[in-house]
C-alpha cells in the first residue's frame, strides 16, 4: 500500500525523505562494500530485486475474493537482511512509480519509510526474535511476513493521519479512519502473504 | 471435436497475432503446424486451450462454444492439455512423481487413481526410472519429457504441444516422437508446432502451415508440399525426403505411381529395392 503522488504536502515529503535517507545511504554503503569484495553480488542483487518487484506486482489470491499485491519485503528481509532490503525496496518503489504509476516521486521518501524500513525491520526483528525464543521457523516466518506487511500498512495510515488529522479527533482519529478503510484489503492480504511466504520458505529449504 | 472458428487475436498494443483462423481437430488425429517464428502458432495453441480469449470468433469443444468462466475453463482443460515450449516453466515440485501428480490431483482424483495415471504417463513417456529424481537435477531432454508427462497424466483427449522437439538432439527427438505415436494411438488427438519439416512430414496425418497470422494451408502432406508456388511465397521448403523422391521420380529412378516415401527408412528402402530390381533386370539381361 503506497501513498499516491501529490497526496502529501511538500513539507511532509521532505521530512519523510530526510527520515529515510540515512537508512538508504547505510544500505548503499553496505552494498558497495560487499560488491567490492564479491563483484558477482551486483547481478544477484539485481535478480533478487527483480524477483521482489515481480512478486509485488503479482495478484495474490485473497480470502475475501478481492485481489491485492503483496510487498515481498518480508521474504526479502528474511533472505538478505533489512539494510540491503531497504535499498532494494527503494529501487522497487522507484520502478513501481515509473512503470506502474503506483506510489510516486514526491512520496518516495514516505513510502520507503513504510515499505522499505519499518516493514523489513519489523519482519527481520520478529524473525530473529521468534527463532531465538525457539518457536520454530514456520511460526517465525509467518509472523514476520504477516506483521511486516501489517506494519507497513499501519505506518502508511499514520503517515496519512499526520498529514490529514481528523477535525474532531485529531491524528489518532484520522489514523483509525485510514486503518479502517484500508483494513478491508490489507488485513486479508497480510495473512495471505504470511501463508505464501511460509509455503515458499518451506519449499526453498528443500532445495 | 475441438474447433476454432474465424478467430482474431491481438496482443495488447494492437499487434495482430492471428486473424480469421479456423481449424478443427478430430479425435485421434496427428496434426503438425509449421510456420516461421512469430507467425502465430503458439497463439493458436493458447487460444485452443482457453488461456487467451479470441477478440472475435470462438473456440468450440464437441460443438459447444466454450465459456471463459471457472467451470467452463475447467471443463475445457480436462480435455485439452497444453505443453509449453520451455519445460522449466512447467516443473515446480521437488520430485518427478510429485510434479506429474499435480494435474491428476487437481482433477480431484483420489490418491490411488491419481497414482495410476501418473504411473501410466511415466510409462508412456518411458521415464519410469526418473520417478523419484529431484526435478532440478534432470537434463534438458528429461525435463522436457517430464513436462509432457505432467499433461499426459491428466489424460486429455486433445494434446497440444508447442515445439516439443526444440533443443533436443536427433536421438531424443525420435524417442519423443515414438512416445507421441503411442499416445496418439489411444483416441487422443495430437497437435504440435515444429520447425522440423522433415519430422512433421514423417509423423503427421495432416499439416497446417501458418504465415503472417493466418492459416495459409491445411491438408494432407502430399497435397501441401505439391503446391510449390505456395511454399515459395511462405519462404518454406518441402521436406528433403519428399523433394528428393520427387526429383528421383522425375528422373525415372523411382516408380511414377504409388505413395511417396515419408521417412528416411522408406526412401532408403525404396532406393535399395530399386537397386535390387535393377540388379535382377541386369542379371536377367546378362543371362
Amino acid at each position: 500500500m503506497h501513498i499516491m503522488e501529490g497526496y502529501l504536502p511538500a513539507s511532509h515529503c521532505i521530512g519523510w525523505a530526510a527520515a529515510s535517507a540515512p537508512f538508504v545511504i547505510l544500505g548503499l554503503r553496505r552494498i558497495a562494500r560487499v560488491v567490492r569484495e564479491h563483484p558477482q553480488v551486483k547481478m544477484l542483487l539485481a535478480a533478487s530485486g527483480a524477483y521482489v518487484f515481480v512478486l509485488s506486482a503479482l495478484k495474490l489470491p485473497s480470502v475475501t475474493g478481492s485481489c491485492s499485491h503483496p510487498t515481498g519485503t518480508g521474504l526479502a528481509a528474511s533472505l538478505f537482511g533489512p539494510t540491503v532490503t531497504t535499498v532494494l525496496s527503494a529501487i522497487v518503489l522507484l520502478f513501481q512509480a515509473l512503470l506502474l504509476a503506483h506510489g510516486g516521486l514526491t512520496t518516495l521518501g514516505a513510502n520507503i519509510f513504510s515499505m522499505g524500513i519499518v516493514g523489513p525491520f519489523v519482519a527481520y526483528g520478529l524473525y530473529r526474535g521468534i527463532q531465538a525464543i525457539g518457536l520454530g521457523t514456520t511460526i517465525a516466518i509467518f509472523t514476520a511476513a504477516t506483521l511486516g506487511d501489517l506494519a507497513t500498512y499501519v505506518t502508511t495510515s499514520f503517515q496519512l493521519a499526520i498529514a490529514f488529522p481528523d477535525p474532531a479527533s485529531g491524528i489518532i482519529g484520522a489514523a483509525a479512519k485510514f486503518l479502517g478503510i484500508f483494513a478491508v484489503t490489507q488485513v486479508p492480504l497480510a495473512i495471505s502473504e504470511g501463508l505464501l511466504t511460509v509455503v515458499v520458505w518451506n519449499l526453498l529449504s528443500k532445495y | 471435436m475441438l474447433e476454432i472458428v474465424a478467430a482474431d487475436y491481438s496482443y495488447p498494443g494492437g499487434i495482430a497475432a492471428v486473424s480469421g483462423i479456423g481449424l478443427a481437430l478430430q479425435p485421434g488425429e496427428k496434426v503438425a503446424i509449421l510456420g516461421p517464428n512469430g507467425a502465430g502458432k503458439t497463439t493458436l495453441l493458447t487460444l485452443l486451450n482457453g488461456t487467451i480469449r479470441p477478440d472475435r470468433g470462438s473456440v468450440r469443444l464437441d460443438g459447444q462454444e466454450i465459456r471463459y468462466d471457472k467451470a467452463g475453463l475447467r471443463h475445457l482443460r480436462r480435455q485439452v492439455g497444453l505443453v509449453l515450449q520451455d519445460p522449466d516453466d512447467q516443473l515446480f515440485a521437488a520430485s518427478v512423481f510429485e510434479d506429474v501428480s499435480f494435474g491428476p490431483l487437481n482433477l480431484g482424483l483420489a490418491p490411488n487413481a491419481a497414482r495410476g495415471q501418473v504411473d501410466a504417463a511415466l510409462a508412456a513417456m518411458r521415464i519410469e526410472d526418473l520417478r523419484d529424481r529431484p526435478t532440478h537435477m534432470l537434463s534438458f531432454g528429461q525435463r522436457k519429457r517430464v513436462a509432457i508427462a505432467g499433461i499426459v497424466a491428466m489424460q486429455p483427449r486433445y494434446l497440444l504441444l508447442d515445439e516439443p522437439s526444440a533443443g533436443l538432439d536427433p536421438f531424443s527427438v525420435s524417442h519423443l516422437m515414438a512416445a507421441l505415436r503411442r499416445i496418439a494411438g489411444q483416441e487422443t488427438a495430437i497437435l504440435l508446432t515444429t520447425h522440423d519439416i522433415d519430422m512433421a512430414y514423417g509423423w503427421a496425418d495432416r499439416i497446417v502451415i501458418f504465415g503472417e497470422g493466418r492459416i495459409a494451408c491445411d491438408g494432407a502432406p502430399e497435397d501441401i508440399f505439391a503446391d510449390r508456388a505456395l511454399l515459395h511465397r511462405l519462404h518454406m521448403r518441402p521436406p528433403l525426403i519428399w523433394e528428393i523422391a520427387q526429383a528421383m521420380r522425375a528422373a525415372g529412378m523411382l516408380p511414377a505411381t504409388g505413395p511417396l516415401p515419408r521417412t528416411r527408412r522408406d526412401l532408403l528402402q525404396l532406393i535399395g529395392h530399386e537397386t535390387a530390381t535393377m540388379d535382377r533386370i541386369a542379371a536377367d539381361l546378362s543371362v
Binding site: M4, Q40, M43, A46, V87, A101, P167 | T46, F92, F102
Partner: protein, 247 residues
Amino acid sequence: MRLIDRNAQTNRWRRLPALEKAALAIGMMTAALCSPGWMAQGVVLVSCAALLLWGARISCRDILRSASVPAGFIALSSLAQVVTLQLNSAWPVLGLSEAALLPAGFIALRSLACVAALLFLALTTPLTDILRLLRRAGIGPEASDIALMMFRFIWLTLDCVESSSRSQANRLGYDGYRRSLRSLGLLLAALLPRVLNRAQRVEAGLAARGYDGELRFIDLEEKLSLVRLAGTAALITTIAMIGRVGY
C-alpha cells in the same frame, strides 16, 4: 504491467533528452504541490494531458488506463478525509464532515495533477534513460548498475511468471483459495533459484563481451535543446504565478 513501458519505448518523444522531460515533469509536479490555489493544479493537469496526447502521441485510452489505479487510491484516501470520527463519546461515531469536503477535493485535485506530471515522465521516457540521468546526478555506480540490470531481469522474470502460471492453470492449479496459494507458493519457490541462476548466466554472458564490472554503452539520446528548455522554464514559471494568485 507492460502498458507504461510500451508507451515509453515507442512514443514520439522517446529519444528527447531525459533531462528535458524530467525537468518538465518535476517542475510541474513541484508547482502543483506548492501552489495553494486550485487553478495551478488544473493547468498542470490539462497541460500534461495535452503534452501526452498531442506531443508524445499517446492514446487517450492508454493514458486513462495507466491513471486508473492511482485514481482509485486517491478516491479511497479522499473518502477517509471527508468522514469524521468522534472518539470522545462512549462509542466511536462516524460522520460526514461538510467542512472537510472542500479541502479533500483540493487534495484530490492536487494529487491528480501530480500523478499527471508523473505519468508525463513515465509514459514518454524509458526507465533506463531516467536511471542514466540519476547516475549522472551521482547516485553511485553500484545502485545504478543494479537498477539497470534489475530492469532487464524484471521482463525476463515476468515472462517466466506468466508462462509458469499459465502452465499451472493448464493443470487446474488455481481452483480455490488453498490450491491457488499452494500453486503460487510452488511457482515463487521454483522461480527464485531460476532467477538467481539467470543472474550467474548473465554474468558469464556479459564477461564474454568484456564486462569488467562497469556497464557502459553508447546512448541514442538527442542533444539538449535550449529552446525546449526555455519553453519548459516559461511554462513552469507561468503555472507557479497562476498558483500565487490563489484561485
